[in-house]
């Protein structure tokens, strides 16, 4: 823009620098500190060895497994939902519906998790209604176990998946579907040949964003999980609260982080997925 170009580059740098410094100060520096802690004073891998010992490996695998399963379920629900909103919903209701479906993202997730306690408890809403309707003889054990934790996870993370998937579902040209139907495609073929390939990058992006958060979640297992549902975040939190030596917890965090990052990078190598991630 005219003259004085060097001056403007410096200024641009400063403007860019401020938010970046915050992001680095909070996001990167602590990770470096953590890494240092995990290696310990003697630059050893002792902490890491303990972190990958069978006990903790089990927790790690369990957490990742939960992440994958919940993500899968969220995707399974999000597909018909986003399809309907993008291609079947009358235009004027579309925005309102989308806002309604994604509103929980902005609500307090501690409260949201907690709300299921009242529904799933032995004396809670679900059991009371079911027994009074005669559907079951005795209240079911639905709380503080796999079931409640699983429901809580889906409850919290479904809006993320819906939001991310909606972007690519909206971009799908409905005429492709009409054309396929016209040529005699069944629903199964339609999904596999038309919808899935076109929205796959969006689905993968959604999965990447959500699975790591689920695997590393703290509040949901803490509020809705039972003693058998120990996830990686609980371990790390325990270590932080109780132990003086953070090395082990740090190592654990890094092992977890490494797995997550590898998966993320793996997914991000696909250019279409990168495009979808840019939406965020």
């Amino acid at each position: 823009m005219g003259t004085a170009d060097e001056q403007s580059t410096l200024r641009e740098g400063v403007i860019a620098g401020v938010p970046v410094s915050v992001a680095i100060a909070v996001g990167v520096l602590p990770l470096i500190v953590l890494f240092v802690e995990s290696i310990g004073p003697g630059l050893g891998t002792a902490a890491y060895q303990e972190a990958v010992s069978p006990l903790y490996r089990g927790t790690l695998l369990y957490s990742l497994g939960v992440g994958v399963v919940v993500t899968g379920v969220c995707l399974a629900i999000a597909y018909p939902v986003t399809y309907w909103v993008a291609h079947r919903c009358p235009r004027r209701y579309r925005l309102a519906l989308l806002v309604t479906l994604t509103l929980p993202l902005w609500l307090n997730y501690v409260v949201l998790n907690y709300s299921w306690v009242w529904i799933l408890a032995r004396g809670g809403l679900l059991n009371t209604v079911a027994t009074s309707l005669g559907l079951i003889a005795e209240p079911l054990d639905l709380l503080y176990n796999d079931i409640s934790m699983f429901i809580g996870f889906v409850y919290i993370y479904l809006p993320y998946v819906v939001l991310t998937l909606y972007v690519s579902m909206e971009r799908l040209d409905y005429r492709l579907i009409e054309a396929a139907r016209d040529l005699g495609a069944t629903n199964r073929r339609l999904f596999l040949d038309v919808i899935l390939p076109s929205t796959l990058p969006g689905a993968i992006a959604a999965a990447l964003i959500v699975y790591a958060r689920i695997a590393g979640a703290f509040a949901t297992p803490a509020i809705l999980g039972g003693p058998g549902n120990v996830m990686i975040a609980s371990l790390i939190t325990e270590a932080f609260r109780q132990y003086v030596d953070y090395g082990f917890a740090a190592a654990l965090s890094f092992v977890f982080l490494a797995v997550v990052v590898v998966a993320l990078l793996g997914g991000a190598t696909i250019p279409q997925v990168r495009e979808e991630l840019r939406q965020w």
Binding site: E12, A16, V81, N108, F240, S253
Partner: protein, 268 residues
């Protein structure tokens, strides 16, 4: 018979997707309605169904000194996050969209700002907790503020980036040609045109900060307590009507703010 089957198959997915949508809405809002319903119970420990309707627990929440203190802290943090997060977000958006810096640098900026979305919060929170201990900053408001800004930044930045790209990039040139300097262009052209997005960004940031739990949890050394922390603490102890009332209040606040922001973000 074959014809009918084929008709059903080819006529489309039928009512399946629509049904799923309805069920999903039910799924998402039933728990909230349940908590709301139970918060009206006159008993400290609500029964199902409730016997009587009472607002006393709302009163109890609003007069509980601990809760009020937490609410004020949360509110203050949220305001700082709203203002700071939006200002930083604007700087970030400007960098990503309009700056003359090479595109690699701009991509890197976007990546760094977007970190909170991809790195599991537990690791970040733990890291901050350890780092503040090691650096002997001590627990206090400053690390919490930084933590909230960090969390809020990707949302404000990307929201503003989306709006920024929509601005005609010749407008600054036209203003320049007529005699405006950079500062004037920013104040008379850029900001007024971005105003709805700036407001939406501030509101979203407010909601996000108000509800932030994990980072604050790790940094809540002495004395700092926020509403999510308070609620979590009480949840661990047990479910009560008090908690239900507090929950409803918190949900209403966030819903109003987020709803307002959504309206601002997309003018009809």
């Amino acid at each position: 018979m074959v014809g009918r089957v084929r008709l059903a198959l080819t006529r489309g997915a039928g009512r399946f997707p629509g049904t799923v949508v309805a069920l999903t809405l039910l799924f998402l809002y039933l728990p909230i309605l349940a908590v709301g319903y139970l918060s009206l119970s006159p008993n400290a420990q609500p029964t199902v169904p409730i016997d009587g309707v009472s607002l006393r627990w709302y009163g109890a929440v609003l007069t509980d000194s601990r809760f009020v203190r937490a609410a004020l802290t949360s509110f203050g943090l949220a305001v700082v996050s709203a203002v700071g997060g939006t200002a930083l977000g604007l700087a970030g958006a400007h960098t990503i969209v309009r700056s003359q810096l090479p595109s690699r640098v701009r991509g890197a900026v976007a990546l760094v700002i977007g970190l909170p979305l991809f790195v599991p919060t537990i690791v970040v929170a733990f890291g901050i907790g350890v780092a503040t201990g090691v650096a002997d900053i001590g627990f206090g408001y400053l690390p919490v503020i930084f933590g909230h800004l960090f969390w809020v930044l990707p949302f404000t930045t990307f929201l503003l980036t989306a709006r920024y790209t929509e601005l005609d990039d010749q407008l600054p040139e036209a203003a320049q040609d007529l005699g405006a300097d950079r500062r004037t262009i920013f104040l008379t052209i850029t900001v007024p045109l971005l105003r709805p997005a700036l407001l939406a960004s501030a509101l979203f940031a407010f909601a996000l900060s108000f509800n932030e739990f994990l980072i604050t949890f790790f940094l809540a050394g002495s004395g700092i307590t926020t509403v999510p922390l308070e609620i979590f603490g009480k949840v661990r102890i047990g479910a009560t009507s008090f908690l239900n009332a507090a929950s409803v209040l918190v949900l209403l606040l966030s819903a109003l703010i987020a709803g307002g922001a959504s309206v601002l973000q997309r003018p009809a």
